[in-house]
Symmetry: C2
Subunit: 130 residues, 2 copies
DNA sequence: CCTTGCCATGACGTATACGTCAAGGGCCTC
DNA sequence: GAGGCCCTTGACGTATACGTCATGGCAAGG
């Protein structure tokens, strides 16, 4: 037992996610993380890890921290049953899904162009070399 | 004839792409655009339009202007035959393609999570309503 | 006891991407 | 010829996301 009680310091957590303690503190200052404190020191649990993971992934696809914050709050409210809350979650996720789909198609278009350039250059190089 | 000689002022171009003259000037200051000048005033041609289109699309998927600049330069060098140039283009496009693929998969993962939240909330709402 | 190491907060600095005046020039119109 | 309107450059302001000290606490090791 007691196998699920893994805890990490801020530097351990940062290193595990290839980021910095400064960044992690910054996310906390922005309200994205609220780790426990043990004598003033931050202690991160598994749930905090997951939140950080989500933060970094959202960041990597271009989301702002302020948007990520509301996004994280959707997880929290997700289980609540009040109708307004549910509708809010539904609307927010729907618009975010559409935004991401749009971004995806922009990426696909850019990928297509890059491949044209890439393949064109490769063919010219082969004609030279071969 | 003379149908391809369409030209635009900075504000016309900006409006056409739902951006601002200030932003367009900023891109020029960063070396991403070099429109003709007629008595000091900027005049944009079709090629400039395409460049701006590419800039905005790249921006929308999270590219930095400095990266977009080198990306635009790949187009310029694309036709050149010197081996070093070709290899440079091939390497740059390849790494950019990988980066975009990675970003796309991050988006897909996020989309999957959002759909879970979205559908879950919808079902709970329907059970309430229905 | 003192150094080493990690932690904390606070304050200032930096890079990116513009927004927002300010001051002035050129052209058209009434 | 005074007023609009659009253009120019230049300078300063702003939001985001941290980096980089500076300063100090606390705990383990030698």
């Amino acid at each position: 037992m007691a196998a699920s009680a893994e805890l990490w310091s801020i530097s351990q957590l940062a290193e595990a996610f290839d980021t910095t303690p400064r960044a992690v503190r910054f996310y906390e200052a922005k309200g994205l993380l609220k780790p426990q404190r043990v004598g003033g020191q931050r202690v991160y649990c598994e749930a905090d890890r997951k939140r950080l993971s989500l933060i970094l992934r959202a960041k990597s696809i271009g989301s702002k921290l302020s948007d990520i914050k509301t996004f994280l709050e959707l997880y929290g409210r997700e289980g609540e049953g009040r109708k307004r809350q549910l509708q809010f979650v539904i609307d927010k996720t729907a618009s975010e899904i559409n935004a991401l789909k749009a971004k995806r198609s922009q990426i696909d278009a850019t990928l297509a162009e890059l491949r044209l350039i890439h393949d064109g250059a490769r063919q010219r190089l082969e004609r030279r070399t071969g």
